[in-house]
Each structure stands twice: as C-alpha cells, then as structure tokens.
C-alpha cells in the first residue's frame, strides 16, 4: 500500500464526516426520503426531488464537517509538527479532503440506492435518471472543498458552524434570486433540476428524454469550484513547481466554473419543459421516447404512457360513464390517448405548462393530459381522477356533440345532459363519492352549464339526462349527424316532448 493510501486510510478512520453520517441519514429520512417517496412513483419526479432536497440535507452538515477537518491541525496545536514534515502540505490536506469526500459520497450514494431501490419496485415504466444524482454527488466535493478551505484559512472552533450555516444560505438564497428568469445565472445552484418556478414537474422527461444540459453545466461548475479551491490551497508554502501546477489547476477550475455560469445564462425552456442550453445540447435528446401505451379494456380504450400506468384504473373509472354513453356511436373517439404536455414561456409569469389543445370536434383520438403532468401541488389519485372527470369528461362530450360557444341550443343541451350523467355513475362507490366531491364546481359542467343556464335548453337538458340510457343511445344513433350539423331544435329533443 502506498504512503498516500495509508494516510487516506488513517484519515478515513478519524474523519468527522464519519460521525456525521448518522446525522445526515436522519436528516435525509426526515426531509428528503419522506417527501420523495410521497411523490407519485415516477422516475423524473423522484429524481428531481431527490436532487433538490438531498443537496440541502447533505451540504449543510458536510460543509461544517469539512471546515472542522480543515481547522483540525491548528485546533489541535499540530500546525508546527506537521509543517516541518517533508511531505507536501497539499498532499496532506488533499488526504483529509478526500477522506471527508469519500464518507459523504458513500452516505449519499447509500441514500440514493434506498430511494431508487424503493422506486424501482413501484414504477411501471421508464428508468432511473442519473444526471440529477450526478449533480448532487458533484456538489458534495465542491462544498467539502469550500468548507475545508475556510477551515484551513480560519482555523477556529466557530468556523465549522458558521460554514455550515453559510452553505445553507448560499443554496437557499440562490434559488430566491432565480425568480421567473429562465436565463438566471443562479440556476447553476445544484438544487435546481428543472425550470425552478415550475417546481418538480411530473410532465417532464417521460415522453421526451431528460435533457442533461443544465446538469452538465452544474457538474462543470461544481467540479470547477472544487478544483479552484483545492488548487488555491497549494498556492502558499509549496515548491515553485507545485505552486505553478496548483495555480494552473485553480485557473482551469475557475475558467470551467465561469464558463458554466455563462452557459446557464443562455438557457431557455424547450417545449417539453426542460432547460435547454444550446452549446451543450444534443439534438438526439429532442426525439420522443418510444413506448407502447398501457390501455384499459373499455369499449373506448383509455391509453396512458407506461410511466403513468398507476393512474390507468382511476382515469378509466373517471371517464368510463361518458365513454360508455358514447361508445359505438358515430363521431365518438376510438381511443383516449395520453399526450405530452406542452410548455411555453410567458414574459410575465415565467414558464407555464399548457394543457393539450389538439382535440378537435369529431377526431378519432381524444388527446388526454393528466393533471399530474402539470406543475402544481401533488395530487392524490382521487383528486387527479376528479379533475380528469370534470375537465376531460365534458371535453370529450363537447367534441362528440360539437357543443360550445356558437353551437345550437340543442347541441349544448345534449352535451350538458351527458355531462350530468358523469356525476351519477361509477362502478366503484368509494371512487364515485370521491369523484362527486366537487361535482357542483366541476369546471366542465360549469362551462356547459353556463351556456344553457336560464335558457329553455336547461330543462331540456335535464329531461334528456333523465331518459333511460338505451333511449338516449337510440336517439343519438339516429340523430347525431343532424344534431352536430345544428339541424335539431330544442323541441325535437326526445326528453323535451315529455309532459
């Protein structure tokens, strides 16, 4: 074993970071693991969450531990004894830094293994994202170098806690400074995985590959910072040759870090919601991910990306009443197919995700955008299904009937009637109760209701909805073309003729 390895072995045995591992593990469990595992089982979502939360968990204590190790020789009054040894100061300090980094990386990769291992057993499609892991892992040596350098330069017992607190504030303040600016240099902060103000976004990186542009810049920056700081440690008390090498290393690190920051300043958000940096971009990543959708066994199949397979049952249950109502009729969609979210930049509010707007009247495929694909608070399965029911259910009906502004009163009345039926039927009573929680405020119902409320169409709609299912279907089968063409009047609706 070489002298360097033997020194490293001794440092590993007596490194403060080893004592911090249990602390970091508890912190990780409290603030990262529980949050991440509460997220839907999607690789993209959990990888981004893991990067964001774990960096904060790790960086704070390990920067303090590194500062503690950096100040060790002076605190322990060994500065003179080690100074007068022939081994270069740089080699001695690097051994301490390396031991601290190894402990931190082992702890971090252990935490990643737990989260990814658990996630692997839960997800239904896709594969783990490694770039977010790489960014978080790269942040450890960089922040350790930062804390360690501060500890070497300011060797007091107060340096460690101050360094730990400073590291925390550096991370938190950096994200505050991003704001809505997609060009912000502060996106270089290692806790940024996606466009910052859209948050952890489930719609990203499932239909299209994860864009590593920002991650590459972040790793470049973090490596540059680490190399700069470690190089700076050898600028004094070393031979001319070592000082020259260290200066070159520090300059290269500084150049890499500065370049990375400048590159991040040129970032834009692509239509798939990911940060794109032109100079680091690989066009191959713009191609959609090929997948075979998972589909329900309903008359009109509901088909989702396999990554969202966990939502298939609830989504199908939410749409089943309306799909059963129109299945087999002319102009009914033959499939409900999940599609990728489209993102756009708004100059005022920053990044926005826009729902699918590709559905046209009478199209054979209804394009579905699940609410969990959009930014916002994490939804339970029931909440998500409720939103699907009251957004996409009426939309499917409206497309089928041709209802909406400019349509005839009869079209809007029939559409409203079919939408009312949505709230009455479901195979699962529990789900039904959950779905009906906000029935009165359902967006689709309100929209269609607004078109007919207070008009003769409203009682006509209620009477049409009250018809037996077979009667509605029979009438629609024979009159749908005329209804869609606007040739049916309210008085011709079957329910309207009832006393």
């Amino acid at each position: 074993m070489t002298a360097g390895m033997r020194m490293l072995r001794i440092e590993l045995r007596h490194n403060a970071m080893a004592l911090m591992v249990p602390v970091v593990a508890v912190l990780f469990w409290f603030t990262t693991y529980r949050r991440v595992m509460a997220m839907p089982p999607l690789w993209n979502l959990r990888a981004a969450g893991l990067q964001m939360y774990s960096v904060i968990d790790f960086v704070t204590p390990l920067t303090g531990a590194a500062a503690w190790m950096g100040s060790r020789e002076s605190r322990r009054r060994l500065a003179d004894a080690v100074l007068i040894t022939p081994r270069t100061r740089w080699a001695r300090l690097l051994a301490i830094w390396a031991a601290t980094t190894i402990w931190a990386l082992v702890a971090y990769l252990g935490c990643v293994a737990v989260v990814y291992g658990m996630t692997a057993g839960q997800v239904s499609g896709g594969g783990p994202l490694w770039w977010p892991v790489a960014v978080a892992a790269a942040s450890l040596p960089a922040f350790i170098a930062l804390g360690f350098t501060v500890g070497v330069l300011l060797p007091t017992r107060f340096t460690a806690p101050i360094a730990a607190i400073a590291a925390f504030f550096i991370l938190v303040l950096s994200t505050e400074l991003i704001g809505h600016n997609i060009h912000s240099y502060w996106q270089i902060a290692p806790i940024v995985a996606f466009a910052w103000n859209t948050g952890s976004n489930p719609g990203v990186a499932t239909f299209y590959p994860y864009l590593p542009d920002l991650s590459i810049a972040q790793v470049m920056f973090l490596a540059g910072v680490a190399v700069t700081l470690l190089g700076a440690l050898a600028l004094v008390r070393e031979s001319r040759v070592v000082r020259a090498a260290a200066a070159a290393l520090a300059a290269a690190g500084l150049a890499a870090a500065a370049t990375a920051v400048l590159l991040v300043g040129t970032s834009t958000m692509d239509t798939h919601g990911m940060i794109r940096i032109a100079d680091l971009h690989d066009a191959a990543n713009d191609q959609p991910v090929q997948f075979t959708p998972v589909c329900s066994h309903t008359d009109i199949p509901v088909c989702l990306n396999p990554a969202y397979a966990a939502y298939l049952a609830s989504t199908t249950a939410a749409l089943e009443p309306v799909l059963n109502e129109i299945a087999g009729l002319p102009a009914a969609p033959v499939q409900v197919l999940q599609e990728a979210a489209t993102y756009r930049m708004d100059p005022h509010v920053g990044e926005e995700v826009t729902p699918a707007d590709r559905n046209t009247n009478g199209e054979a495929v209804y394009h579905l955008l699940l609410p969990v694909q959009m930014a916002g608070p994490t939804l339970t399965t029931a909440q998500m299904a409720s939103q699907v029911k009251w957004t996409d259910g009426p939309n499917i009906v409206a497309n089928f009937i041709g209802a909406g502004p400019g349509a005839s009163q009869a079209q809007n009345a029939v559409a409203a009637a079919l939408t009312m039926i949505l709230g009455r039927m479901s195979a699962d009573p529990d789900l039904q109760a959950s779905l009906n929680e906000d029935a009165a405020g359902g967006p689709g119902l309100s929209q269609l209701g607004g078109l007919i409320r207070g008009t003769p169409a409203q009682p006509a709609a209620e009477r049409f909805a009250a018809l037996p299912a077979h009667a509605r279907r029979a009438w629609l089968a024979s009159h749908l073309s005329a209804l869609r063409a606007g040739q049916i009047t309210l008085s011709q609706l079957p329910g309207a003729q009832l006393p």
């Binding site: 002298a3 033997r6 060790r72 020789e73 003179d80 004894a81 040894t85 022939p86 081994r87």
Partner: protein, 253 residues
C-alpha cells in the same frame, strides 16, 4: 568543540523579530552530534530559536545551515525535514488516534519508506516505553504518556537532527530518567538540541550547553564550565543551578 566534527547546526548572526519585539538577536551557535542543552529563563528566545532550527519559522536575518544545507531553499529544506525530529513545547495530538496511528501518521508525513513504516513505528513506540499502550487512543493516556507518544512521533524517522522543546515537562522522575537515557542514546548518532529550564536535565544528558537570555547567547560551554561560573553569591540548590544563576547575572550586569 572539535572543529573537525560534522556540524549539523551552524548558526551565524541569527535574528528573528515579531513586529517590534526581537525574540532572537544575533545568535551564533554550532553543534555537532551529541546532546546540546539550551537553557534560559522564560521568554529568553529558546522556543523561537528552536522553531527556526525546525524550519517552522524563517529568520529575519542571519545565516542558518542545518545538516549542511540552507533551509531557505525549498529542496534543501525538504531534505532537512526528512532528517529532522521536532517536539514542540506544547505538542498537540489527535485524541481519536491510537498511539500507533499517531506515530504512523507522522512516519508517513516524514516520508519514511513505506516498507519500513511498520517497523519504524514499533521501534519508536518501544523506545519511549509505550509498547503496551500502542493500541490505546491518545485521549485515554496520561499527560506523561501523551508526551512520550509525541516524542515517538519526533524520532520515528531516525532523525539526524532532533529538537526537543521542554521534553521532560509533565514526566514523572522515573520517566525523566528513562528519557535522559533516550537522549544519550539518540545523541550517539544525531545532534539533539534540548531546550529546557530544568538544569538537572542538562547536567545529566548534555555534553554542551548554551544559556540564552533576552534573545542572546549568554553562555556556551560544557556543563562543567557552567558549574564553574558559580561564585559564593549565586542562588541555587545544585552546583549547576548556581552556575546557571551566576552566568545569567553576569550577562545582565
């Protein structure tokens, strides 16, 4: 002193200032193999002189040659350090290290050949009488044992120049006797400079002694010559203490 002997320490007009305070003022000193005592009251400049000889502090002016090399250059300084052992006045330690790890750590820093590290560490620990405590963590040792562990780190590289600053502070009488024997043994092959204000250590182990006061050498000679300085007026319980007091009084008058 025999001028033909190899001079491991050659100091000419060595001065060190800290701001406006002069800690060492134009010291001339030469020392070959053997044990060399550096006596003096507190604040005499012994520690600063020793730190300059240890290459921990650069002189403000004057010439310093150690083991035939000028420590001002990086290469020669590194070569000197490879052959140097130094025990600071207040030696620090890493409480969590075992005795073996602590001494091994310094053996590695002193670039002891990797293949001989294990043997060198065991020998150094054995020489200071801590063989039975080699697996104990330093935090569990008494003050005297800690000092011996620190002495072990200083001698682990079989140094040709050994600098001990107050090495017997905190040692019990039995340990001091043992330590003096170690000094004599080291002095057979190396130049051992012992800074102390305990004159009995000098009398027992040193072949030559220098007395420092206010940054200058007030006396240099053998312990017998120091004893001979004593007159009837000098204070002290032993002839050496009386010689020490008389030499100091003479330098100050």
């Amino acid at each position: 002193m025999n001028q033909n002997t190899t001079m491991n320490v050659e100091i000419t007009g060595l001065t060190r200032r800290f701001g406006s305070a002069t800690a060492v003022a134009g010291v001339d000193l030469r020392a070959g193999p053997g044990v060399f005592g550096l006596l003096g009251p507190n604040g005499a400049g012994k520690t600063t002189l020793l730190r300059m000889m240890a290459t921990a502090v650069l002189p403000t002016s004057g010439q310093l040659r150690l083991l035939g090399r000028d420590p001002a250059g990086y290469g020669p300084r590194r070569e000197i350090r490879r052959r140097l052992g130094y025990l600071p006045q207040n030696p620090g330690y890493y409480p969590g290290f075992t005795v073996t790890e602590f001494v091994e750590y310094f053996a590695l820093l002193k670039e002891v050949p990797t293949g001989t590290v294990r043997r060198a560490v065991a020998t150094a620990i054995d020489r200071v009488g801590l063989a039975d405590r080699r697996r104990h963590r330093l935090r569990t040792l008494s003050g005297g044992m800690l000092r011996r562990a620190c002495i072990a780190q200083a001698i682990v590289n079989e140094p040709e120049l050994v600098l001990f600053d107050e090495p017997t502070a905190g040692l019990d009488p039995e340990q001091r006797v043992t330590f003096r024997a170690l000094l004599r043994e080291l002095g057979q092959h190396a130049t051992v400079v012992v800074s102390t204000h305990l004159v009995e250590d000098v009398g027992a182990a040193c072949a030559e002694v220098a007395l420092m006061d206010r940054g200058r050498i007030a006396f240099q000679g053998t312990p017998d010559e120091l004893m001979a300085c004593a007159d009837g007026q000098a204070a002290g319980d032993t002839p050496l203490e009386r010689g020490y007091t008389a030499a100091l009084d003479r330098a100050r008058s």
